[in-house]
């Protein structure tokens, strides 16, 4: 029986590889949300028509793939041409940017045997690709933009589900947990709790009815952040495989993926992926002929930021009001329906399969002493090239902002970079050479967060930045505890006084006092972290606040 799955995977993989090898040319079109918003679907249709019109449908395949990361230059597409080999016998790969349905046929024409050199595509050749990708290390996103997210065969052909197959046939749950622990993986939702430790806790927890659950937290809600959405859109099977391995390690038989309804494409791709995995016998009862049962259900959230907090997320899955409750008990002891529950972020789960596949030693070799592996960031704001990047832990902010993103446009100066969204802080220029890892970011008053990274130039008013995030927290507060419900409103009012230049020195004292109160007395992470943008801007840009004080009469 166990061999059957191995055979199935092998067979699927070889069939798929063979099918793909028939094509010597491939055009991969990004079908992530950002590119689709810029008509990449029409681009793909135009390409398909052009391929048929040019009569090269036997050699050239048009493929849907996930996000390659250069979201500000979409729609993106990649042409892989095996008829022309570049260095080291690799087929030539060309990235094109800002492709419209009108330009699309020219790309196909350039692939025909009779193609004449043309300058029509020059403007669309992606010039920044070299610098943008040079310093990136793709682990989580390794398949994104290379495989069709809606085809399980493509995932399997790229080595997918090999990890779970070997785990189920050869590994004990303890060995899985040990590997994750030794790999040094930490929670990618933002807090950086050691994943192996979390798994071990849930594995050891007693369940009164024998049930345990695995939850994938896809309630990504930081303004401007879309790392998890891109992973779910671009490589949904990777997330499923990670959840399966987790379920095996902790002894769970049911999993939930919690995605906000605001990410319909991610939800759709996950739904398709779950169904495909079920049909392939990778989800369900007696997976791979083992005694392991595991199934996954998709739960759509209504888009409340607080539902990213684990206890609120669990309440929401249970059908209740999405409000956090005091911890302990932690979900590891008493989570969904009162059972021990493992809850990890999308990106955390997406890191699991490669750790199993390539070994924890490989993974622990990436990153810094305390922060291992890579981190995906959604890089936005005032940089030349924004988009989705994956970098090894320990890279400096300067490398990200100036090497990868190309620096600040419009001849302006760098002012600050904001990480961690509404729960994070603003990091000024003097810390640009600091390595990006959990501890360093915390030391300068910010957090790793889930991966939002907003770069600001010297035209930015830091008080308005703080007020923007406070407004976000105020709107997203669930209203359960007093400091968050009322404190954020009062903080927002005080910040508005600074923006309007009607604040008094007494208001500055009130502002600092309230920040302390909300940080220390709020019930959950939303409130506890809500003052961070204010605290960090007060720390590094205090003079801006002082300049806004009302001149004394």
């Amino acid at each position: 029986m166990q061999d059957e799955v191995a055979t199935l995977l092998e067979k699927t993989a070889s069939t798929e590889r063979m099918a793909q090898s028939r094509y010597s040319q491939r055009i991969q079109v990004c079908m992530g949300t950002a590119c689709m918003a810029l008509n990449s679907e029409q681009v793909k249709t135009a390409l398909e028509h052009a391929v048929i019109e040019n009569g090269i449908q036997k050699q050239c395949q048009v493929q849907r793939v996930g996000c390659p990361g250069l979201c500000s230059l979409g729609p993106m597409l990649r042409v892989i041409d095996k008829t022309i080999t570049a260095e080291a016998n690799e087929p030539r790969e060309t990235l094109y940017q800002q492709i419209t349905p009108e330009v699309a046929p020219a790309i196909v024409t350039s692939l025909t045997p009779a193609a004449q050199p043309t300058s029509a595509l020059d403007a669309h050749r992606c010039e920044v690709a070299d610098t943008f990708f040079k310093r990136q290390v793709k682990v989580v996103l390794e398949h994104c933009s290379h495989i069709d997210p809606e085809r399980i065969e493509d995932y399997i052909a790229h080595g997918g589900y090999r990890a779970i197959q070997s785990v189920l046939t050869e590994w004990t749950p303890q060995r899985v947990i040990d590997s994750i622990t030794k790999a040094g993986l930490r929670g990618r939702g933002g807090a950086g709790y050691p994943t192996g430790l979390k798994w071990a806790t849930v594995a050891k927890a007693n369940s009164s009815n024998g049930k345990k659950y695995v939850i994938c937290n896809g309630d990504e809600g930081d303004p401007g952040a879309y790392m998890d959405r891109s992973v779910m859109e671009g490589d949904p099977h990777r997330v499923i495989e990670g959840m399966m391995i987790a379920a095996y390690a902790i002894g769970a038989s049911q999993g939930y993926v919690y995605v906000r309804a605001e990410s319909p494409l991610a939800a759709k791709r996950l739904r398709v992926a779950i169904r495909q995995a079920q049909r392939a016998g990778l989800l369900g009862n007696n997976i791979a002929g083992s005694a392991f049962h595991f199934d996954i259900e998709l739960r759509l959230g209504a888009g409340a930021f607080v539902c990213g907090e684990e206890t609120a997320l669990i309440a929401s899955i249970e059908g209740g009001r999405g409000q956090p409750r005091p911890r302990p008990p932690y979900p590891a002891e008493s989570g969904l329906w009162g059972c021990p529950t493992l809850i990890n972020n999308v990106e955390t789960f997406a890191n699991i399969a490669p750790i199993i596949d390539k070994g924890w030693e490989w993974y622990a070799g990436i990153g810094t002493a305390k922060s291992k592996g890579t981190k995906v960031f959604a890089l936005t704001g005032q940089v030349k090239t924004s988009g989705l990047i994956e970098v090894p832990m320990g890279i400096t902010l300067r490398e990200i902002v100036f090497d990868i993103a190309g620096g600040i446009p419009n001849n302006r100066q760098f002012k600050a970079v904001q990480t961690g969204g509404p729960s994070g802080g603003c990091i000024p220029e003097k810390f640009l050479d600091m390595p990006v890892d959990y501890e360093s970011l915390a030391k300068v008053g910010s957090i790793m967060g889930s991966g939002g990274m907003i770069v600001m130039d010297d035209s930015t008013n830091m008080i308005e930045v703080a007020r923007f995030f406070m407004e976000f927290c105020m709107d997203e507060s669930c209203g359960k505890c007093v400091p968050c419900r009322v404190g954020t409103v009062q903080l927002h009012r005080l910040l508005s006084k600074f923006v309007d230049k009607t604040a008094t020195p007494a208001d500055l004292i009130k502002l600092e006092g309230l920040c302390k109160l909300v940080k220390h007395t709020s019930l959950c992470g939303l409130g506890q972290a809500a003052p961070n943008p204010v605290i960090s801007t007060l720390n590094y840009f205090r003079e801006e606040y002082e300049q806004c004080l009302k001149p004394s009469p």
Binding site: R325, D475, G479, T488
Partner: protein, 236 residues
């Protein structure tokens, strides 16, 4: 099994599984509370009962945190006193609390708490929201101007009366206590008119119709009595 812990420098004993709040009260130490009420489950929402755990310095709600052996708890530090006062001020700033014209004046837990924390004025801007008064019920009224969203009515109606007439709608500062499916209270036919929510409400938000300024007295221990009577058959 009993456990020993330190509260404000004094060793006290407590039952296993007991909350810090109960253990403290048994030992004669009062910790201010607002959303806690004997007889219904705790939610740890008002943050008034926050206490400091020695070592970590972490603040935890005394009502939902279980005691453990050797725990060192401080319930009365200058920092906690300041936080409690700020929290009470925030509550006063949130809605339109006018003690002078309130049915619960003199019988109000919020008013008592303001005295306890030494609030002589509110340093934050009042928000002055436009709130409704629902007097559609034949016996009781609900004045949202005085509601502090402690959810004691919600829990009382759900856990003791079993009717679950009350709930909370919307979120953040827009949170609101509702009856039924956000209908006028008088039109909610699941309401048994038992009046337990009136007893549970710490302020003058839920009141008996006809009560005027300072007339609305509430007997909150009755609710704990009812629960004890039912669950433990203790009728005294």
């Amino acid at each position: 099994m009993s456990k020993t812990l330190t509260l404000n420098g004094q060793m006290i004993s407590a039952r296993e599984g007991e909350s810090i709040l109960d253990a403290a009260r048994d030992a004669g130490v009062s910790i201010p509370t607002l959303c806690h009420m004997n007889g219904v489950g705790d939610v740890g929402a008002c943050r008034m009962c926050l206490v400091e755990l020695a070592g970590s310095g972490k603040l935890v709600p005394a009502c939902t945190t279980k005691i453990s052996e050797g725990m060192e708890v401080n319930s009365d530090t200058p920092q906690l006193r300041e936080y409690r006062r700020m929290l009470v001020e925030l509550i006063f700033s949130e809605r339109n609390h006018v003690c002078a014209v309130c049915v619960a004046n003199g019988n109000c837990e919020l008013q008592d708490l303001a005295i306890h924390v030494g609030m002589d004025h509110v340093r934050y801007d009042y928000l002055y929201p436009a709130e409704n008064v629902d007097v559609s019920h034949p016996m009781f009224g609900m004045d949202h101007n005085r509601c502090i969203l402690c959810t004691r009515c919600v829990r009382t109606c759900d856990e003791i009366e079993g009717a679950h007439v009350w709930d909370i709608t919307a979120r953040g500062i827009k949170s609101h206590t509702i009856t039924g499916l956000a209908e006028p209270w008088g039109e909610v036919n699941t309401c048994t008119s038992c009046g337990k929510c009136v007893m549970a409400c710490p302020t003058g938000a839920i009141f008996k119709l006809g009560a005027t300024v300072a007339e609305m007295e509430k007997d909150r221990e009755k609710l704990a009595f009812l629960k004890n009577a039912r669950e433990r058959r203790e009728w005294v």
